[in-house]
């Protein structure tokens, strides 16, 4: 119970670096970022203009780190960060932003607005202005190990079912395995077929893998709520487990922000490089494909498209790999209008789906994805993030659209040649 405005301001001060200063110095108020953000385009609310979401951080940069700003602050003429501002900005920074990164791609002067919204969350969170749903998820992640409260017994139960149904063994705590798989709570509880699919594929490919019973959670609420210290604590658990089991590569599953958390933020959060590699499951599968370890026999005949999860594609760099894999089994694959790194967010990432207050807007902005789908008339959507998957299903239902949302990994597993 010790969040405070003072802590928030201090946290914001810590976030200012040369990138932040360069970005704020360059904004010319052109408004193009608004037209790139589905939370603006589908609501028409100008407050949701991405650069506007960073206002608390901007005020701190200006009044603390610029000569003119400091002088104005001394004269009492600089805009301050106060309780009112943070309170007003809560729904802009959390409910109306998935950190999807589309704004950063269109800004003509090159501002990485997304990065700055992420930094703004550092201050909002310790000032007590994060959404309750996210706070709860974070508390559970830290104390229990999973934001959804999933503990080892639950995982073991799922594993038990799979082993019984398929006869395969799911390797737990195998020291020296080449790969260590992480799982999102969502997959464990809602899509356990994913675990089965991975087992099948690795067996087919003849590659060793394992899951750590001490640290199997992929998601990182610290990243979503925007508190690096907490994110670091969660990453450390994975690092400890990976080092203990002496694995070569840690696999981030079909989850969006988990990849960002462990692959790109991880070493920076804990302050030292990893001595293992981190790869997304799609990168691993694409490696198998290149090495000739994947032999598919089936073909998908329905017309399919691919939804690029923002944290994996645009913010993560895994754009070509899914397409290489899809082309192995899809007979009729079409890209969405605006594809790859310019694809539109589903609307649920970045902590939005953990925030009940944002349920309404989350479904409202799905209109953007609906418009994309309406343009191409497909029979099904493939994706590689469980959160996107759940939300796509919710959205399709809300808008009375009837089509399956497929996991890419699961589809590959289904198409494997039977030995």
């Amino acid at each position: 119970m010790s969040a405070s405005l003072k802590k928030g301001i201090s946290a914001l001060k810590e976030q200012v670096d040369s990138t932040v200063a360069s970005f704020f110095s360059s904004c010319v108020h052109c408004g193009m970022c608004a037209e790139a953000c589905l939370f603006y385009t589908e609501t028409g609310d100008p407050e949701r203009t991405p650069i506007n979401k960073t206002e608390p951080l901007r005020r701190i940069w200006f009044s603390e780190y610029t000569l003119v700003g400091r002088l104005l602050k001394m004269l009492g003429l600089a805009k301050a960060v106060d309780e009112q501002l943070l309170s007003d900005w809560e729904t802009l920074v959390y409910d109306s932003c998935t950190l999807c990164g589309r704004c950063s791609m269109v800004c003509p002067v090159g501002i990485d607005i997304t990065d700055m919204i992420r930094k703004t969350r550092e201050g909002m969170a310790v000032a007590g202005h994060a959404p309750n749903g996210l706070i709860g998820a974070t508390q559970r992640a830290v104390t229990i190990g999973s934001p959804m409260g999933v503990k080892l017994p639950a995982l073991q139960a799922q594993i038990g079912h799979i082993e019984k149904d398929t006869g395969m063994t799911i390797p737990l705590d195998v020291e020296g395995a080449e790969y260590m798989l992480l799982l999102s709570s969502m997959e464990i509880m809602n899509f356990p077929e994913f675990i089965e699919a991975v087992a099948k594929i690795f067996k087919h490919a003849g590659v060793s893998w394992t899951i750590s019973s001490e640290a199997f959670e992929a998601t990182n609420s610290g990243i979503q709520i925007g508190v690096s210290d907490i994110a670091a604590e969660l990453v450390q658990r994975t690092v400890d487990a990976a080092e203990k089991l002496k694995v070569k590569t840690v696999i981030s599953p079909e989850c969006g922000h988990a990849y960002m958390a462990i692959r790109w933020d991880g070493p920076n959060l804990i302050g030292k490089p990893f001595n293992f590699k981190v790869r997304h499951i799609l990168e691993v599968l694409d490696e198998f494909r290149k090495d000739g370890r994947l032999k598919l026999s089936g073909k998908e005949v329905q017309k399919l498209t691919y939804h690029d999860p923002c944290q994996i594609a645009r913010r993560g760099g895994v754009i070509e790999e899914p397409r290489n894999l899809i082309n192995m089994f899809a007979d009729d694959f079409v890209e969405m209008p605006d594809t790859g790194k310019m694809n539109w967010c589903c609307g649920a990432g970045g902590g939005v789906s953990s925030n009940e207050r944002a349920d309404e807007i989350r479904l409202q902005v799905f209109q953007r994805k609906k418009d994309q789908l309406d343009a191409i008339h497909v029979d099904g959507i493939i994706s590689a993030c469980s959160n996107c998957r759940i939300h796509l299903e919710d959205g399709l239902e809300e808008y009375h659209m009837d089509m399956p949302v497929l996991s890419l990994t699961e589809t590959i597993a289904e198409q494997l040649e039977e030995n």
């Binding site: 119970m1 010790s2 969040a3 405070s4 802590k7 201090s10 946290a11 001060k13 810590e14 200012v16 670096d17 603390e64 780190y65 000569l67 969170a125 310790v126 007590g128 994060a130 706070i135 974070t138 508390q139 830290v142 104390t143 709520i225 508190v227 690096s228 210290d229 907490i230």
Partner: protein, 366 residues
């Protein structure tokens, strides 16, 4: 000195006929004058009539702080031009350079002319008037200021010939040690026509006089009291080298290829764009040439303060100080300043990092 009344009473027309100037030549002059002043051809008979009947008015010419260049320009008397003949027909009652008399006799002639033609004589002034110390320029022990105010009292109109009389001219240039001022700085209650130039073009002076003789009025003047007929357009607008300016072809030095090809002299400091005079059309020496045609940039001599315009060889739009030096010195100082600010910023960040308390889940709620 005896007064030649018969010469004085003779009309201009009688005087010209006496000189053997045919009516034809005279009318040609009137036509040329009319066209120069942009008057319609229908005015030519009016000009001819007025000039013919013109009683030679009394003209008193006062020369103050001047170089006599204006008189020189006006009285290019090698050729028997119509212009110089007209001057035979004006009663030039006082002129230092041209008069025969000297000393007390000259001053007496001036006073007599003033008394006889009170309210009707034309006062022509060249040279500036020093206000710093009357001793800088005196005539017969009388200061320029006193002589001007005295003589102006009974004048019908005043013509300030040359940039010195019109605007202060060269004596007025910084630091203006004599406190030189123009005629219009002193006389406020008489019509004044400024005919600037250093010197002015001869026909410009005679054109103004002709206008006054014909109509008895002052010609249309611009905001600097210069006759629009001669000072209404800039050199730039009438310069034959203008196409080169528009195409961006400039002489860079006085003897480079561009200079030889007659390219625009803007880069060599030509003040043509901001100078209003008739040089580019009427030209000098009976239309032979003018400075730009001779390869020298216009120095803007018919404009006020042309001497203080920052240099004849620097375009008017160029800075007068050494900007690159200023920039380099500023940059050197600023780098130090930036380093200081950078240190301040870093220190602040370090301080905050050091006092960073690890955030726990308890810090997320109030």
């Amino acid at each position: 000195m005896t007064k030649d009344l018969s010469r004085k009473d003779r009309t201009l027309g009688e005087a010209l006929r006496n000189q053997g100037i045919s009516r034809r030549s005279f009318l040609k002059f009137c036509a040329a004058t009319a066209s120069m002043m942009a008057l319609p051809p229908s005015m030519i008979p009016a000009i001819a009539h007025a000039l013919e009947k013109a009683r030679r008015p009394s003209v008193i010419w006062l020369s103050f702080q001047e170089c006599t260049g204006c008189t020189e320009s006006l009285t290019r008397a090698h050729t028997a031009t119509i212009e110089s003949l007209i001057f035979d027909s004006i009663s030039l009652d006082y002129h230092h350079t041209l008069q025969a008399a000297a000393g007390h006799a000259a001053e007496a002639a001036r006073e007599a002319a003033m008394e006889e033609n009170d309210g009707k004589y034309l006062l022509v002034v060249d040279g500036s008037i020093p206000l710093g110390n009357p001793g800088y320029s005196t005539i017969a022990g009388i200061s320029n200021l006193d002589m001007l105010t005295d003589t102006a009292r009974g004048a019908a109109a005043i013509i300030s010939v040359g940039t010195c009389a019109a605007f202060g001219g060269i004596p007025n240039a910084k630091p203006n040690p004599t406190g030189a001022v123009s005629v219009s700085d002193i006389i406020k209650d008489k019509p004044i026509i400024n005919v600037p130039g250093c010197p002015p073009i001869p026909v410009v002076i005679t054109g103004v006089l002709t206008h006054y003789l014909t109509f008895g009025t002052i010609p249309e003047l611009d905001h600097l009291a210069r006759p629009k007929a001669f000072y209404g357009q800039s050199i730039h607008d009438r310069c034959y080298r203008r196409p080169f300016y528009d195409k961006g072809l400039f002489a860079e030095t006085f003897d480079d290829e561009g200079a030889r090809l007659g390219w625009c002299l803007y880069k060599l400091g030509c003040k043509g764009p901001s100078t209003y005079n008739a040089c580019a059309t009427t030209k000098w020496n009976d239309g032979i040439s003018f400075p730009i045609e001779a390869g020298h940039p216009c120095i803007g001599c018919s404009e006020p303060h042309f001497w203080d315009g920052g240099g004849f060889y620097k375009a008017l739009s160029m800075p007068t100080e050494n900007i690159s030096k200023t920039a380099v010195y500023t940059a050197a100082g600023a780098v130090a300043g930036a380093a200081a600010v950078g240190v301040m910023n870093r220190a602040k960040k370090n301080k905050i990092s050091e006092s960073h308390e690890k955030v726990s889940i308890d810090d997320l709620t109030r």
